[in-house]
């Protein structure tokens, strides 16, 4: 009996020693990880060193009538570039590219080698694909299909070169913006809080069939060299937001919500950005 007790005591002592060694070594090592803030520099996609000024000309816009996507996009991009880019932003009237494209289409259809211009000298431009004959342009732009025929406007180098001359050869930003309403029905998983028979709170995921509505924003930014009228870069984006069908969210606030996600990528094309974050350093 006494021998057993002594053995037990010895085992306990050894165990205690092992625990103490483990704890001691952990304390001696200190923390094994450290959170550290970092700033990742991201180089601009485009070399814009040849330009000192940028003209956000305007956009062929469509989708919903609740938001003037042309005006709003021009306004937003100009204000962003003013604060986050070294390029000087040209203050000019927003170009109504939809009607300009329609005018160009008419003149091209009439077989004339001309296109309407905002340039003061009023000289004419030539559509690059004039020989193929103009495609009809839908008066109302409701979806991507309606936008397609308008693309030829951006290939009209003579036109953009003339706009460039008018504003002393800046970098020109233009493109298309489609902002359209969207509804989607389907099963949505959400957490539901309830209490069990013992009064304990619990949260469980529940799949429910819901009708949701919202918006899709599809901008395509086209960067044109104002000295030549040629497209140097273009980038397309797609963002969507959906709300509960009962929720009444103004179209304009949805537009800004979606643009918030796109603007950093737009800026990254023109200027270097620093993306802040936190990482873990390990020992």
């Amino acid at each position: 009996m006494t021998e057993q007790t002594a053995q037990k005591k010895r085992r306990s002592l050894v165990l205690a020693a092992l625990v103490a060694i483990t704890a001691g070594s952990t304390l001696a090592c200190g923390a094994t990880y450290f959170e550290i803030p970092i700033e990742t520099p991201i180089r601009a996609k485009l070399d814009v060193s040849a330009f000192q000024r940028v003209l956000i000309a305007g956009f062929v816009a469509g989708g919903t009538d609740d938001v003037d996507a042309n005006q709003e996009t021009v306004r937003l991009l100009r204000s962003q570039l003013r604060s986050k880019s070294s390029l000087r932003v040209i203050d000019a009237d927003v170009m109504e590219l939809t009607s300009i494209a329609q005018e160009q289409n008419k003149t091209a259809g009439a077989g004339e080698d001309s296109a309407p211009s905002r340039a003061t000298n009023g000289s004419a431009g030539t559509a690059s694909d004039e020989k193929a004959g103009p495609l009809p342009l839908p008066a109302e732009i409701k979806d991507e299909k309606d936008l397609e025929p308008y693309e030829r406007l951006f290939a009209n180098t003579a036109y953009w070169k003339r706009i460039g001359e008018e504003y002393q050869n800046p970098l020109i930003v233009t493109g298309t913006v489609l902002f359209m309403p969207h509804t989607r029905s389907g099963f949505v998983s959400r957490d539901v809080e309830d209490y069990d028979s013992f009064g304990r709170r619990r949260v469980r995921p529940v799949r429910t069939y819901m009708e949701r509505k919202g918006f899709i924003l599809r901008p395509k930014f086209i960067f044109i060299d104002g000295r030549t009228g040629a497209t140097i870069h273009s980038q397309s984006h797609r963002e969507e937001v959906l709300y509960n069908a009962q929720q009444n969210t103004p179209a304009l606030s949805s537009y800004f919500e979606l643009m918030d996600k796109i603007v950093p990528d737009f800026l990254q094309a023109l200027s270097s950005q620093k993306i802040r974050g936190t990482r873990v350093l390990l020992k």
């Binding site: 010895r10 450290f34 970092i38 990742t40 991201i42 273009s234 984006h237 990528d265 350093l281």
Partner: protein, 119 residues
């Protein structure tokens, strides 16, 4: 008596089993430690130098590769950062902290070539 002997043998085995590896590792740990200290003071280039030394000394040290990746990321050397993260994860695939760093890095890296580009 038998129990005591077994305990002693176990402790001795643990203490002296891999002295050479421990030496290499402790040298690398010293470099990593110093790298962390200088990175916390904003001296990232020095930190990168230290972590590069650490992975040279001990190429099996996942934490050193992780720290090196963070350093490269901070300096905007994204390709090198990716390689270092992938090496760290290859060494310790179940390390949640390395995985988290890598996921955050990938988010940024994907953004840099996320948008559709045309000439």
């Amino acid at each position: 008596m038998t129990f005591r002997t077994a305990t002693c043998i176990t402790l001795l085995t643990v203490a002296f089993a891999t002295p050479l590896h421990a030496d290499t590792r402790s040298d690398a740990v010293a470099q990593v430690d110093f790298g962390i200290t200088v990175a916390q003071r904003g001296l990232w280039r020095e930190a990168i130098y230290r972590w590069e030394r650490a992975v040279e000394i001990d190429p099996t040290y996942a934490a050193a590769f992780n720290d090196l990746a963070v350093g490269y990321e901070h300096e905007g050397q994204l390709e090198k950062a990716r390689q270092a993260y992938e090496k760290a994860l290859a060494l310790e695939p179940n390390n949640a902290q390395i995985r988290q760093n890598y996921d955050l890095f990938k988010e940024i890296n994907d953004r840099t070539d996320g948008a559709k580009e045309t000439p």
